[in-house]
Symmetry: D3
Subunit: 62 residues, 6 copies
């Protein structure tokens, strides 16, 4: 039943997302949870909506 | 003052969302909260950002 | 498959939470989702961790 | 290390977001956290996905 | 820079959490992110605050 | 109407939280939002539920 939310920068491909959810699900099923019990939400964030050190990532990592 | 966040697949119509927020608000006001105190955020998620059982919903429920 | 997160003040009873999740689930199944597809997380927040208008609720609604 | 998530209506400019993250980061560094330790995510929500008092903001604040 | 939030039932041990964060971090660094860039938050939820199918998990999985 | 969620380590005092919410609210009202429209939720996280670089903060920052 765990729910995993992944906040990251937009731009990942579907293939990368497939690997990501397969990998995270595998880590959690190793704890004794069945695969169907694992839900993952990926959140694509534009760099102009993500800040670190007081600056938007669109400025610091364009 | 409750805040309700609804994570779901994208694709619902405005009419469906109107019913959804009216219904959820009604459930919460039944607990003794006034309607203006209820805030609801709907999050539309693409199926390729939602996974269950280690697979993206865009693969399993296209 | 929707996931609903309810942020509210701590202090609700189990009976109130039972009614809450039953009611919200019913609103969502009316949209054509089966009950088992609806997950709800209730988050109990102490009033000293909730603010409105720049003031903690523990100050304004003790 | 704090993470701040700001849920708001879409429509703010990059300049406004720059000021927002600079200001929030400053408030948190005043608590003794170094700037690089502060991450902020801005979430732009369409008004038809935001409700108060049982009505979508697209209806009440078009 | 990804941020991962894991919502699960309370009751996991520190050893299980260590494995969990090590595993998830490894999955994400495989995407080309350095380990220090990965932040993970684990949220322990009591079963009486988690519902599926309109019923609290404290009722269905006591 | 913005909602701000602050995820941080547990241990801050009420006085620190008062300053935090006052400061963040002030930053947002500078954007033209009235103070009553700003809601802030503070989430206190134990260090054993927070990880960076694949390690729990309870290990690296005890």
């Amino acid at each position: 039943m765990p729910i995993v939310i992944v906040e990251m920068w937009e731009g990942r491909t579907i293939e990368q997302k497939k690997k990501l959810v397969k990998g995270i699900t595998s880590v959690i099923t190793d704890m004794g949870v069945r695969p169907e019990g694992v839900t993952i939400l990926i959140k694509d964030n534009p760099k102009h909506n993500w800040a670190r050190g007081g600056k938007l990532a669109s400025e610091t990592s364009p």
